[in-house]
Symmetry: C2
Subunit: 76 residues, 2 copies
DNA sequence: CTTAAATGTAAAGTTCACTTTACGTTAAGT
DNA sequence: ACTTAACGTAAAGTGAACTTTACATTTAAG
């Protein structure tokens, strides 16, 4: 199971950023090369990004993957 | 594009490990909960692991995802 | 040399990340 | 109140990650 901080991080950037349009769901989606639906589903936790997308996201936020996504071993 | 060090890392563990059967393709696959085919394809670079699997792999090797997988921006 | 473990290859099937389209709701400015 | 940007939801389609099965090749050890 993977937990992520995407929603909080993006909303924080939205508030802080001068170019706030860069951090709307749509703005971020465009920079990542995905659709807005993809952002929504990730923020909701409906599904996990691919490793490639996780790398792109980490790059956009200037953080390591492990700072944004946390893996928790499944409870069997 | 993602480059990985899986083959080298696993072979290194194979040589160093006392319980070498833990680091055969089959042994590693079982611990990761995937098939041997999956290991082969990742080592060949045929496909990239999901983020969940990347986390599990990093955990098995005791390393960070970024130490095993490297993202290189696509040349358009 | 022989045998068995480990690795490689190939191909069809399943699942899920991601797209596409379309419409509904919320928030904020004027 | 009106408008519009931003956010949310739903559902069908595509492609790639991953499985399953089966067989062939390499490597190491007796």
């Amino acid at each position: 199971m993977i937990v992520n901080k995407l929603k909080d991080l993006r909303e924080k950037m939205l508030k802080q950023s001068v170019r706030s349009e860069d951090w709307t769901q749509e703005g971020l989606a465009k920079r990542l090369g995905v659709t807005r639906q993809t952002i929504i589903s990730m923020e909701k936790g409906t599904y996990n990004p691919s490793l490639v997308l996780a790398f792109k996201i980490a790059h956009e936020f200037g953080m390591a993957i492990e700072d944004i996504f946390e893996y928790r071993a499944e409870k069997k």
